[in-house]
């Protein structure tokens, strides 16, 4: 996914002279083709996240569209005030591309796990937050970033994740993608959790439980209308996120449903990571499993919850 995103930046830059690339201290060879073909718009600025964001803001004030890329944790925690003031307050078209969203860097421990990035960024006015489900979806979203007003945070997954998006479903920033119409259960997921939601839905289908799946790649601005329309059809809504359940996508969905569903509210369950630092290493997969985010965990919770309300 990262490669597809970086290639997308390169392709955009070839046709749009406003597009710049700014890295901190990325791996050797990152976007060499960009550096070769457009060296004046390629910046590798060192481990200076606060400065990089301010510099990107200054460039954006002069008409550029800077894509800033580094690890999601450092891109969101270290320079939060610069993002809030320099970028969001000025409503500038700076694109923040965070590598290793969620538990991708599980083996590296809590310093490298971006598990509250969505919460802190979606709370900033003017910010757009995008969590693509797979590389194909990333590729479909990239051209839209050239014209989208204001800042965007793009949370990248590990890469080589299963492809769940397709050309059959509209892929548009700000628009929820309904992959399966809601049944008695509705899963709302983003990032790598979309694949798990689909697998859990298949398991439920085996038990003759109808289950919808929404790929909510854009957490902000939230497609409230689609969420409400689908949630009205379901008895249970379960959100699935590779993020703590404090303030992330699940919270955003819950807020939207509570604020906008008048007279009827389905049972809402939010599955995600606990409010703690996760330091049991292993892999992204093992970390997700140990926190109950495998498809069979999800399906089991849905079935159990359905039994309790019927």
């Amino acid at each position: 996914m990262r490669q597809r995103c970086l290639s997308g930046i390169y392709e955009l830059a070839k046709t749009d002279s406003r597009v710049l690339f700014i890295g901190s201290d990325l791996g050797q060879g990152t976007l060499d083709e960009f550096r070769r073909d457009m060296p004046e718009r390629y910046f590798m600025e060192g481990i200076t996240e606060q400065h990089i964001i301010g510099m990107a803001a200054g460039l954006a004030m002069e008409g550029y569209i800077p894509f800033v890329n580094t690890s999601a944790t450092f891109l969101t925690r270290r320079c939060y005030e610069q993002i809030a003031i320099d970028v969001c307050l000025h409503k500038l078209p700076v694109r923040l591309v965070g590598n290793g969203g969620g538990l991708v860097y599980a083996p590296l421990g809590p310093t490298h796990q971006a598990t509250e990035d969505i919460a802190i960024l979606r709370s900033l006015p003017n910010m757009t937050v995008v969590v693509p489900a797979d590389a194909d979806e990333m590729q479909r979203l990239m051209p839209q970033t050239a014209t989208w007003p204001g800042p965007i945070y793009i949370r990248l997954a590990k890469g080589k994740d299963p492809i769940v998006s397709s050309d059959l479903v509209e892929c548009k920033i700000g628009k929820a993608a309904v992959l399966r119409e809601a049944g008695s259960v509705l899963f709302i997921a983003n990032g790598v959790m979309v694949h798990r939601a689909l697998m859990a839905a298949d398991l439920l289908a085996d038990e003759r439980i109808g289950c919808g799946v929404i790929n909510l790649h854009t957490v902000k601005p939230l497609d409230v209308q689609t969420l409400v329309t689908q949630a009205k059809k379901a008895d249970i809504v379960i959100t699935l996120e590779e993020h703590t359940t404090v303030g992330g996508m699940g919270s955003a969905v819950m807020e939207a449903l509570v604020d906008n569903m008048h007279g009827y509210l389905p049972v809402i369950k939010r599955l995600g990571l606990p409010d703690s630092y996760i330091s049991d290493y292993g892999s992204q997969k093992s970390a997700l499993a140990s926190h109950g985010l495998e498809p069979h965990h999800i399906a089991s919770l849905a079935a159990k919850t359905l039994r309790t309300i019927n």
Binding site: G46, T48, Q50, H51, G54, A57, M61, E62, D86
Partner: protein, 285 residues
């Protein structure tokens, strides 16, 4: 590098006299203070001559067209010194002087920190310290990319450069050889709590900037002629960013406020205190 102005580097107050124009700009500050009944007085008054010289003789701009693309950019990174910026911008006609009386009023364009989307002539919203130099680096890079002659000036406080982000930006400015960028340090030796010496010593200030790759000049920040000469000496074509360290006095112009941390920010002024400010200016040598 030894400071060329040892008595200033030692933190003593300058006794530089003030002409009528400097007094006029300070009267505009009092106008705003009266309206809001509050303000960062000390750190604004140390800026008056710096801003006066920048806007009178260094910066290229058009008050009727504040977003003119070829203008020079000036960012007041120490946003809390905005009373001085508002005074000079009003004086230059970026907005009517009557706006000063609405300082901090509900719905006014002039707040306790400057906002770019509200105030004509304000390039960036500042107030959170340590941000302006990075924005200035971005603007200077943009000027080079767009082959514009625009100069970029960033005015920082001294306490402000406690922030690590300033030094990140300084390294970047030198890396990119931004000769079109000038950082102006309002070195008044006082921050909110106490002296910079006590809170976090910044000396040797000039050596720091020089070692970060800047061409450094030091000047009495209240001496109009000296400031003019220093800014005039900044080369048009250079591969080094510039630092102008201005030795200044907080509260300059009001002897009772000079170098007094209690005047960093003040609220609630009696008519007698306001009168005392005006009278102090009349009496100032």
């Amino acid at each position: 590098m030894q400071s060329e102005i040892p008595q200033l580097a030692a933190g003593k107050a300058t006794t530089t006299s003030m002409d009528e124009r400097s007094k006029h700009l300070r009267r505009l500050v009092i106008t705003a203070l009266q309206g809001a009944d509050r303000g960062h007085i000390g750190p604004s008054l140390s800026l008056i001559e710096i801003l006066r010289v920048l806007y009178d003789s260094f910066l290229n701009y058009d008050p009727a067209h504040p977003r003119w693309p070829l203008r020079d950019r000036c960012i007041l990174s120490k946003g809390h010194g905005c009373l001085a910026l508002y005074a000079i911008l009003a004086d230059k006609g970026f907005f009517p002087q009557e706006e000063l009386s609405n300082f901090c009023a509900k719905g006014a364009i002039l707040g306790g920190n400057p906002e770019a989307n509200k105030v004509p002539g304000v390039e960036a919203s500042t107030g959170a310290l340590g941000h302006g130099l990075s924005i200035g680096v971005g603007m200077a890079l943009a000027a080079n990319l767009q082959k514009r002659p625009s100069k970029v000036v960033v005015i920082t406080g001294d306490g402000e450069i406690n922030e690590g982000s300033i030094w990140e930006a300084a390294m970047s400015a030198a890396k990119h050889q931004l000769g079109n960028l000038t950082v102006v340090v309002d070195y008044n030796k006082l921050q909110s709590y106490s002296t910079t010496k006590e809170v976090l010593d910044l000396d040797p200030m000039a050596d720091k900037w020089q070692s970060f790759g800047f061409a450094v000049q030091e000047v009495d920040g209240h001496d109009v002629n000296a400031l003019q000469q220093v800014f005039a000496a900044i080369p048009q074509q250079s591969t080094k960013p510039n630092a102008v360290i201005c030795h200044t006095v907080t509260g300059k112009g009001f002897p009772f406020a000079e170098n007094d941390p209690a005047w960093h920010h003040k609220s609630y002024f009696s008519p007698e205190q306001i009168e005392k400010m005006y009278r102090a200016l009349e009496m100032y040598p």
